[in-house]
């Protein structure tokens, strides 16, 4: 924590040194929200000069165009309704998943040059993608790294439950928190981190949480929960 603090301070000094800032722009990128980590060590004021930019998933129309371009690149052909099916299945339209599935589809067509890629092929591609542990494992490891043991066990159980039941209610979250001796505020903080880092959302109903990505849900259910 001490190191983290001094690192943050050092960066701030650099950013605010006119000699540096005239020539250098600092851009930090990360999938774990920097703000939530920093606020935990009570150092949020050290980064209050940073402007945060959220990289959101693509809107449907852009995702469509992106998929078409990717397909051209790898020389496979997908009908319009098959692309729509693909995007529906991905639901949370971040570039990574689209790329991952297009890559799996390319492998399918390479294995069978006669293949007509259809909805079934999409399902097969998803199952194949889920077999690559390395693509997803970071979702789990980064939680292990950034939370204490009890906290990790708490979020893991929450994510396990959602992967099984599709949703979890906020009162259920509080119940699990008690199990790990976390109080309501601590639990809420951790849930906020999960939301911020793209695991889950409560967009439709403030009291109900679900995965952003059905693909991550399936992977978690297969590889972590069971």
């Amino acid at each position: 924590m001490k190191h983290a603090n001094s690192l943050l301070k050092a960066h701030r000094t650099l950013r605010q040194n006119p000699k540096v800032s005239d020539k250098v722009s600092f851009i930090y990128a990360g999938s774990i929200g920097l703000e939530s980590v920093v606020s935990k060590i009570n150092s949020i004021k050290i980064i209050n000069d940073l402007n945060s930019i959220k990289v959101l998933p693509l809107p449907k129309s852009e995702a469509y165009k992106f998929t078409v371009q990717l397909c051209l690149g790898v020389k496979i052909k997908l009908e319009e309704d098959v692309i729509n099916y693909l995007l529906e299945k991905i639901e949370w339209l971040i570039l990574f998943y689209i790329q991952l599935l297009v890559q799996e589809l390319k492998i399918l067509s390479r294995e069978d040059s006669e293949i007509q890629l259809d909805n079934d092929s999409i399902d097969t591609a998803i199952n194949k993608a889920l077999e690559h542990r390395s693509y997803f494992e970071s979702w789990q490891t980064k939680l292990k790294e950034s939370f204490s043991k009890e906290e990790y066990l708490f979020v893991k159980e929450i994510l396990n439950i959602i992967s099984e039941d599709n949703i979890i209610e906020s009162s259920q979250i509080i119940n699990i928190a008690t199990k790990y001796s976390l109080d309501e505020d601590e639990a809420k903080d951790m849930i906020r981190t999960l939301i911020y880092d793209g695991y889950i959302n409560n967009n439709e109903n403030a009291k109900i949480y679900r995965y952003n990505s059905p693909i991550l849900r399936q992977w978690w259910n297969k590889n972590v929960a069971n």
């Binding site: 906020s170 509080i174 119940n175 008690t178 309501e184 505020d185």
Partner: protein
Amino acid sequence: MLQTSYARFKYTPDEMGEDQFLERFVVREELFNDIFEDIKSSNDSNTNQHYIIIGQRGQGKTTLLRKLQIEVKNDKELSKFLLPVKFAEEQYQIRSLCRLWEEVAEYLQTIYEDEFSTILDDMEEHFDDEDYDLQCFSYLESVIKAKGKKLILLIDNVDELIGKLNEKEQRRLREILISSTTFRIVGGSTKMLEHHHDYSKAFYEYFKIIKLKSLNAKESKEFLLSIARDEQKEQIKNVIENSPARIETLRRITGGVPRTLVMLFDIFLDENGNAFDDLLKILDEATPLYKHRMDDLPPALQEIVHTIAINWDGMLTKEIVKKTRIESKLISAQLKKLEKYEIVESESIGKNKIYKIKERFFNIWYLMRFGRKKDRKRVEWLVRFLEAWCTDKELEERAVKFIGKIKEGELKPHYIYNMAEALSYAGLDLDIDISLKKEAKNFLESINSQYANELSSTDAEILINAIQATDNGTPNDGLNILIKSDRNSFIINTQISNYCLKVGKFILAEKYIKKILEKHKMEVNTDQYIVYYLAIAKGLVRAKQMISDSIDDVNNLIQASVSLWNEEFSLSYEKFIEHLDRKNHLKLEDNEDFYLTMLISKGQHYQAKKFLEMPEYQLKERYKPIWYALMTLMQDEFPHEIKKMGSELSESVDEVLKEIEIYKEKYAI
């Protein structure tokens, strides 16, 4: 002031003047029309349809028969050939079929003297004939036919008459019913007795059965209006328009039986106790019948009937099981029998059935005869009626007038006793209650009436007992005394709700707070209001607001419960711990079962486990059923804990589990 009330005629509609009678025949018109139309449209070629009108005592069988008698007589066409013959209600003298025909002949000779001046005498000439038994009907029929007439026999208690005939006679009567076009029988019967006459069941097939059902809400209103004297009509109209619930209560108490309805209504209007005398008279008359009804039942059924009758209100099967200690497997078969005998009736409430005595009048009779002394149930029917029909103020005015009448020495002891008890149970001002009981006791003692010792305690005495019990024990002891007393006055209801709040019985408190607000129309304090909202699971926002606006500290357990309801878990836990600490400190006796049950219903299993297991509060020991209900829900994780449960707990645990399910919906936000 003497009143000419309808009461005089409620048992014997036949004695009422014809015009008055017709004017008051406002219900059952459709049934009457059905029968009357059939009579009018009959012709010579077909045999007649015979009828039996079946209904409980007081449902209006005799009235319907009289209506037929009058209308037939008044109908221009019918009266030319159709002669109504209506016997008195009891026909002890008719013991054989021949006697029936002789009675008919005698009736004709007396009533229709001009046409049948010698009919009985003619028949008597054949008395000594060997085949008189077979021939007496033919003699009668031939005379009637010769005059071009037909008869309509209106026979009350026709089942009793049929029951007296031997098998041969029954067969003969059946023949006559099938073949003769001269006679039509319209009988009345209380179906209650049908099971005594299984052998005559086949008979009923020759009759069309008309069942008199209980009056519905609309009919009850029309009926009450029709029986009211002119000066009362406005008052009743007013009640019907402004407080229809009162009529409905009256209907429920009486089971919608017209006679019982009139009777109660009369007792209410008549302040001199005359109507009450009438009631006792009719109860006395009914005694042999009702006693017979009870004596005919096997002991197990008697016990069940006794249990249900003493309770007055409907009972769930499990409540009957608990009271009678008859196995629940056996009970349902027994209850089915009692339903078949039409002694009890059931009403389905969700999956459960509620059983009550079908004939409410029988229930009143039972309670007045066998109700425990100094028990509210003995006068429950009257209490209910007074509660429904009087505001607190009206009750008190009535009581004050009543005290005056006692002093004047005008009233009879049974009326004094019953009315004093009913008024007192319905809830009076503390002082009025004291002087009512005092005057009643003094008077009853002065005439050496046994009722003097049967008067129950005053509200004041009960309150003092409760306060002393609380001082020597806990608020729960005081609470038990008050609840057992079955009183309903403002002061007792307030004290009960206070004790409930003190010991955390929120759900129970609601009933009494509701009475304070709705019945007594009095204000309650903040704690009581909040508990009221909590118990009915409505008004969460308002409850929250009241807590934050309150100048005085709202009870911690109440606050914890409201926060839990609102799913502010941390706040709720904080308040709950404060409550437990305070309680430990002051050595109070509280009930946390409501809170713990709601906690589990909110899915907070781990927190509930944590609270229950905290050694300093010993909740796990106190709330074993809640603990095992929780362990049932958590058995995947703690499979061994549930095995420690004693089998005697399983029923209570199931109840907690059911409650949890109910709370899940009730307290969802």
